[in-house]
Structures are given as structure tokens and as C-alpha cells.
Amino acid sequence: SLTTDNGIHSSFIHGRLKSQEKREMQREILSILGLPHRPRPHLHGKHNSAPMFMLDLYNAMLMEEAGGYSYPYRAVFTTQGPPLARLHDSTFLSDADMVMSFVNLVEYDKEIFHQRRHHREFRFDLSKIPEGEAVTAAEFRIYKDYTRERFENETFQITIYQVLEENTESESDLFPLDSRTIWAAEEGWLVFDITATSNHWVVNPNNNLGLQLFVQTTTGQSVNPKMAGLIGRLGPQTKQPFMVAFFKATEVHIRSAR
């Protein structure tokens, strides 16, 4: 009886120690990764546009590290179609210590017809950036699908604005950031440079009032972004708009003593 009791007791303690040890190991590795706790993401959408784009970047980084292979930047977009525009050469990617994608926080597409101008809103929370990281580049990415026959031979000008001040009665105060001129029939990812704005938002989080996107024809006629083929919240998960920022560490991460 004594032997049985001892057997049960020792196995119980052994099990407890093992799970304790596992927790301890998890805590140590989280500390090495510079994380205060294990992240609990709300969504598990590994096949959403941003995680897929980031996985492409990860694979490109691995290939570069493995054999000094200089990948063509276009290869990064293989899972998401070719880009209609691109901002940078691949060198800035290899210089980055950290790359972070941000989900769009606007729940519904606000394609408000304001004073005969359609627009769409986007917001990104940049408050979760780890300390000691400086933004070296930032891009806003939105997917453009085929346009319906109505605009087949049309050219669109797509412009991104930073919202400086929101007005409920009239149009918001906006600052133009970047624009693209494209054919209606074109399809793929559109990339807009929002580096300066991202830096501004990191330093002044209260000024982060988001972005607004406008589409117009060559004659200046406002076009509904949806009609121009720009994918919004109701579109496929693999083509959702997102923001990506590249960071360079300004200070060395030192593990805190425990």
C-alpha cells in the first residue's frame, strides 16, 4: 500500500514539475523574444492578405540569408498577384530589423457621398510598436480587381490622404500623401508610400485619424472606390487592404534581470 501511495505521489509531483518546467521554459523563450506575455490574437486568419504577404517576406529573407540570393522584389508578391506599383528596392528589406503589418480597424466601408465625392476610410493602430524601433518605410496596400465594363477604357487617379482633422458637418481636413494613375482594366496590389505619416503617428498617436482614399476619372469625376475595383472589407480575405511598416532598431534589446 505504501509503495502504491508513494508511486502515485511521485508521479503526481513529477507531472506538476514537468508542466511547471514547461511554463518556465515558455517564459524564458518569450523573454528572449522580448515579449511580456504570450500573444492571444483575436483572429487566426493565417490566409488573410497581411499574414500571407508577411510569410512571403519571411521566405524571401530566408532565401537571401541562405545563399546571398538577391531575390527580385516582385517574387515577394507571388501569392497575391503582381504589384501595379512598388516603392522600394529589396535592399531596404534586408536592412530591416523588424517588419510589421497592421490590420485595418474601420469596421465598415464608409463610402460616404460627401459633396459629390466618394471616399473610403482606413485606420491602423500604431501604438503596439515595440520600444526602440524606428520606422524606415511604410506602405499602404490595397488590391485592385478588374473593373466592370462601365469603366473598361477609363483611366483612374487614386489618391491617398492623411486625415488632419475630422469635421462632422463638412469634409475633413486632408493632406495628400501619394497617388497612382492606372487603367481600369488593371489588376493587382497598389502600393502607396505613407512613411512620413507613419513616423508622425508614432510620435503623435493622438494625431492618428487615419487615411482616406479617393478615386476620380481623368475628367475629375468622383468614382466610387468599389466601382473602380478596389477591394474593401466585404471582399475576399486574401485581398483585404493593410498597412506594412519596416523598422530599424535604434537600441539594443537587453533582457531584464529576473
Binding site: 523574444l33 508577411m54 517576406l57 529573407m61
Partner: protein, 139 residues
Amino acid sequence: SASSKQKNQGRSRSSKSQESFRATSLTENGSSDQRQACMKHELYVSFRDLGWQDWIIAPEGYAAYYCEGECSFPLNSYMNATNHAIVQTLVHLINPENVPKPCCAPTQLNAISVLYFDDSSNVILKKYRNMVVRACGCH
């Protein structure tokens, strides 16, 4: 957990001292080649085994490696050894009771990239330096 760690350390220290004792006897018997030289060993850190697949997208884990073995005179020519380690080895031979042998430790470390979700479902791709042992040597 800390006390168990200490116990483990104590146990490994005592078993190490037993090993070195055995190694010394072997040397005396003229079969020193059985003693393990400082070298790199396999150690895989599995994020999957830690149950982190829900937030770590890639990799599933990584080969971290560790360095283990003795830094004994003569330090192998293929092994990275600091000048000081060579001197310390000689001094150890003169005064083995008071001067320890040099330590077998990493001399070159590589970075790894980890891709993971944060609490807000944003995705982070971060490069972590000094995570993988590329070469071991005597310090």
C-alpha cells in the same frame, strides 16, 4: 523550480566531475582520445512542442545547438580558441587545483527570423540576433 534547477546543476556538476575524473584515469592509461573535445551539439527549440502554433506563423522551431566538451591541451588546431584560452590551458596544467580549464562556448552566433501575430492580430516579422550557434570554441 529554481531549487530543482539548482539540484540539477549540482547533479550535473557532480556527474561532470566524475566524468573528468574518468577522463583523467583514461589519460593515465593512455587512451585520451575517448575524451570528448569541445564541439557543437544538436538542440532543437520547437515552437510546436511549446504549443505556440496559434500565434507563431513561422518557423515551427529552430536548431539552436549548444557547445559542450573539454578544452584540454593541446587545443585542437581546427577549434577556435582565444589566445587567452591557450595560456589558461597551460596554467591549468601547471596548477590544476586552482586554475580551471578554458570553457567551451559559442564563438559565432547566427540570427533567426520569427513571424508571429500580436494581441491585435497584426503580424510581426522580427530578426533575433545571436540565437543559433554557428561555431564553438575555447574561451
